[in-house]
Assembly symmetry: C2
Homo-oligomer: 131 residues x 2
């Protein structure tokens, strides 16, 4: 493992939007459109940041039907995990992070109600970390 350069991890973490994305992916895989919905960002911006991180090997992607499912690679680099974990504690100016996770939960419940709105891999990620 850890073919990922540490500096690449930090390159991803040093932008707030990427940080928010990684914080979400830590809980489970998500498609571009759902990240977009949670983050309140445009499709292009979201997609491009994902491309950026994918090129650096920090996130992985696979197609499922119409959707591209993005996720943290397994096994995820321990340094990345450790930092994402810290984020929860350090909420200076990052109120978004917890709000993002709440929005994610809402969306996941919506998927449970009507699958077909996302690929199986996404709504199967039923970790109920935060309600």
């Amino acid at each position: 493992m850890q073919s990922v350069e540490l500096t690449n991890l930090y390159k991803c973490l040093c932008d707030v939007l990427r940080l928010r994305i990684l914080n979400l992916l830590k809980e489970g895989p998500l498609c571009v459109c759902h990240l977009q919905e949670i983050l309140g960002e445009t499709q292009v911006k979201t997609s491009k940041q994902l491309q950026y991180m994918k090129k650096l090997g920090v996130v992985g992607a696979r197609r499922e039907g119409v959707w591209m499912v993005y996720s943290l690679p397994e096994p995820t680099h321990p340094v990345l995990l450790a930092n994402l974990h810290c984020l929860q504690a350090d909420t200076d100016g990052f109120g978004d992070l917890i709000g993002d996770l709440k929005k994610r939960s809402v969306i996941l419940r919506r998927f449970a109600a009507n699958p077909g709105e996302c690929p199986p891999a996404v709504y199967q990620a039923t970790d109920g970390c935060q309600g």
Copy 2:
């Protein structure tokens, strides 16, 4: 504490030279010229990276005579410390880091022999972490 934005920390960590500098400062304060000597980099390059990190509030600086002594601010952001700590473990392509610390020790011993080659604050940092 922690007026430092997390993203600023990561901005500093995502460059190898800055990473090496922080790794050194973790052990104690150093002047530009000594960092320069340990890192094998030019004065301008070293100085500029220090300016960059100073502007982001990640390192502090004070003048002592001819020298500018750079150091990690007290108290140092826990996330920064945690990451610098991880570096020791994760040595993929970072053989430099340990080598840097060894060079630092050599230099510190030299200072002990003849002070006047550096400001007091530097050679007084006698943490003998690695020999």
